[in-house]
Symmetry: C2
Subunit: 158 residues, 2 copies
DNA sequence: AGAAATTCTGACGTTGACGTAAGCTGGCGC
DNA sequence: GCGCCAGCTTACGTCAACGTCAGAATTTCT
């Protein structure tokens, strides 16, 4: 097995295995690093990239945003950057830092998440509407197949 | 006004107006024609493209498939080609042609539509799940803002 | 008719998200 | 030591979906 346990006990994969598990190419992982979207958890002595579970999860998240929402990697960087700031915030809580600053970061995260939520909601509803249209079309086809004569309806929607 | 009524009484727009109403560029319309995705309803004597309501509706449909479902124009051609065959079928019904052939076309249309329906359904559910995740994140943020201390939970999903 | 606006047909340019190939390097198995 | 595999960097190639520009032709306005 090519896996290897880090000194902290965390699973560390080199790029080949990491790419295979995430379902992307090695080139994709290097490219994500190139554009500052995802850097490996660390490097081996020889300079090989090493990825942990968090990085794999992030790849999955990136692909979701890309394929499901049609976001560009550029925008996605903003989204995951926000998530990173939240992780930072979690640490800040534990280290009990400036309260005012914490509120600000949290508020900003709340707002950007809500904005994303609205986008996703709108998208979900449009696609659901499209799906319902398809369902109607299907039942219409079924009716026709049962022997009915189709109406030459043309709503001519513009 | 740049509009003009066709001899059949149908609205005919030249490429500029058509593109504006459909919310795309002129180049896009010409490109769609280039790849056999959408041809104008007709041409003027001098060779200018003329688009009717049906073509505008088709552009809208194409953009839906492209943006909402992330389909490539290549695949979309298949989908709209099927819709065209259905229109043809409607005419065939009126001209009362071969019954066996009609059933075959209708059955094929039903199947491809059902296949598309499944794709769309799957997509809708994945996006809805993502939206729900966001909703949870938001309420978590709200709780934190209300004074709670965040838990350093890391599911480490792979 | 003549000017102005729109459209036509090529043809080349662009952008995002990688693919691919070349040449070099580090660790291992025998 | 030697071969081999996986990985590294660098750099050019690709593909879809248009954008853009030039120069000629069409349509509209006055």
């Amino acid at each position: 097995m090519a896996e290897r346990a880090h000194h902290g006990g965390e699973l560390r994969l080199r790029i080949g295995e990491a790419a295979a598990r995430a379902g992307v190419s090695e080139r994709t992982l290097r490219y994500y690093e190139e554009i500052g979207l995802l850097s490996p958890a660390g490097h081996s002595v020889g300079g090989c990239r090493e990825y942990g579970p968090a990085e794999l999860a992030r790849v999955t998240r990136i692909r979701e945003l890309q394929e499901l929402l049609g976001l560009e990697l550029d925008e996605i960087r903003g989204v995951v950057a926000r998530e990173d700031r939240i992780d930072t915030l979690r640490d800040a809580y534990r280290r009990s830092e400036g309260d005012e600053e914490r509120r600000a970061i949290l508020l900003e995260a709340l707002q950007t998440t809500e904005a994303l939520y609205l986008r996703v909601s709108a998208r979900v509803e449009r696609i659901a509407a499209f799906r319902d249209e398809l369902a109607e079309t299907i039942s219409r086809y079924r009716t026709w197949l049962a022997g009915e004569i189709p109406q030459p309806e043309r709503p001519a929607a513009v």
